[in-house]
Amino acid sequence: MDNLSLFISIPAAVAFFIPIASHRFKWFPDVSASVTTFILLLLSLMTLNHETVYRMGNWPASYGIVFVLDGFSCMMLIIVNLICFLAALFSVDYIEKFYTSKLRYYSLLLLVVTGMNGTILTGDIFNLFIFLEVALIASYTLVGFGCSSRNLEASFKYLAINLLASYFILLAIALLYGKFASLNMAVLSQLMKVNPVDNIMVFAFVLLFVGFGIKAAMVPFHGWVADAYTSAPAPVSAILAGGIIKALGIYVLMRFVYNIFGMNYLISTIFIYAGAMSIVVGVLMALGQWNFKRLLAYHSISQMGYIVLAFGIGTPLAILGGIFHILNHSLFKPLLFLNAGSVEYETGKRNLNNMGSLSKKMPVTAVSSLIASFSISGIPPFSGFWSKFLIIVAAIQADKPVFALWAVIGSILTLASFSKIQRYVFFGKGKYFKDEVISEVKEVPYLMRVSMIVLAIFCSFAGFLLLGGLNGIFGPAVNALAGGTDLYITRILGR
């Protein structure tokens, strides 16, 4: 699979085609979105263990645009397209029940996929900025898709904060261009090695750190997360948690840090402290929540903290843990959001106090949510345990036992708040629970079940992917980051 342009052209073409075809064929949006995302998932699986540089229009890297496929971007492609496929399947019934205007929904969903794939693959900073904007503009609408006052408020907040971040990023790109007269990431990386660090590079790095930190929901910049996740339709929350903050936030930030600017002690320290803060602040804010989706949103901040901490430590083992935690968080957090969506689909409730005893009526939802909860709180056989374990071991190896302890504490608090969900929603009863709420409840439709079951299976068995350790399936991804700037420059420019 060497033609990387398919990852952006297929979803964009279908997105443009949906509004035209849907007036005649009512089934077209559902089917086309699911089929397209499934094809993209297959294509991204075919890129596994490939490393290639695709030249757009056959212009060489120094003055054209190149798409770069290495281990890390391949991993992200698979994660993003898997989540988008399952979310598209889940949307079929969910959107039908709650919202109008399906064709606009699917069209924008596919544009989000286009933007994320483009951001992951591109090797040019300005091109990256535009693809990032494509994904973000489409997601602004999806967050406010219900158009109730709360949806719109959350959407505007999300838009304002992220647009601010985007302009910071654009200013940083302009500054870098003014200094180095180049937009290609590899060329920039090469020039930065030759030239001494000066104020322009420092200021550009600060702007990029703030900009992508906002998009990655790091702790000083996490203001938009809870509102946006709570207001969005459940499949969109799943994409936000599993795709957007990973592909547009942490992935790009790590590309910049490891492959363009180059990691050093100061940057590493900043990341470690930001990650440690995120872990505890997110989980503490989640503990007091009674809204199902808002609780999950705060946990997202906390889990992103683990990833940032791992990348901050920066040893190959820590990077392995970080990448595996990205994968795990993209499995269990979307699953939990889909569970929340299913519960809402059947009962119409979001507050934990109003629910109860759903485990008998909705066995699939209850069991999958149990698996996801075990996984997110790091109970041994499930996937979340292995990545947290790796991060903690890496922290101890790197002589930072305080942060290892910190991560363990975060994990215990996570367990506490997820036992609350299990108790109130599925196995016990909430404070204001009434029996008539669940009298007509039954299991959700088949397609919604399928996407939850697939994610639950992955959550249970993803630990096996770690077999082989640094030489296993994650080996190329770890190498791509641990190889630093040199490997990246050689891969793209060939010298």
């Binding site: 535009i130 609408t141 408020e153 959407s155 304002a160 647009l163 601010l164 261009y177």
Partner: protein
């Protein structure tokens, strides 16, 4: 000097976004930030006594390299202007709908999410 003035314009836009509580003013703040970055990019590419980057006679191509302004920032700005238009239309439509729901443009009065 001129770049500094551009940066002042950027900071004014930032002030509008961060401090104002009227939604329309926030949108204007974003517009000012966009203008300042676009202008900054174009000014970065300017050359003293520079030409427009158009090939007029084929013999003078080498001349063009020495005397034309930088065309790449112009391409970036062209794209960023159109991008700004898309974002603006979305922002304004959200603002209009918010006005319909709350009856005001004041962002401090929109606090249903907090409850």
């Amino acid at each position: 000097m001129i770049y500094t003035l551009c940066f002042i314009l950027f900071v004014i836009g930032l002030y509008g976004v961060v401090c104002k509580k009227n939604i329309v003013k926030i949108i204007l703040g974003f517009l000012i930030m966009e203008y300042s970055i676009n202008l900054f990019l174009i000014l970065l590419g300017w050359r003293k006594q520079g030409f427009v980057p158009v090939v007029e006679n084929l013999a003078g191509v080498e001349n063009l390299v020495a005397q034309s302004v930088d065309p790449l920032p112009q391409a970036m700005v062209l794209i960023s202007i159109i991008l700004g238009l898309g974002i603006l239309s979305l922002m304004v439509s959200i603002a209009i709908r918010l006005y319909q729901r709350y009856g005001t443009f004041d962002i401090t009065e929109m606090n249903k999410l907090k409850n």
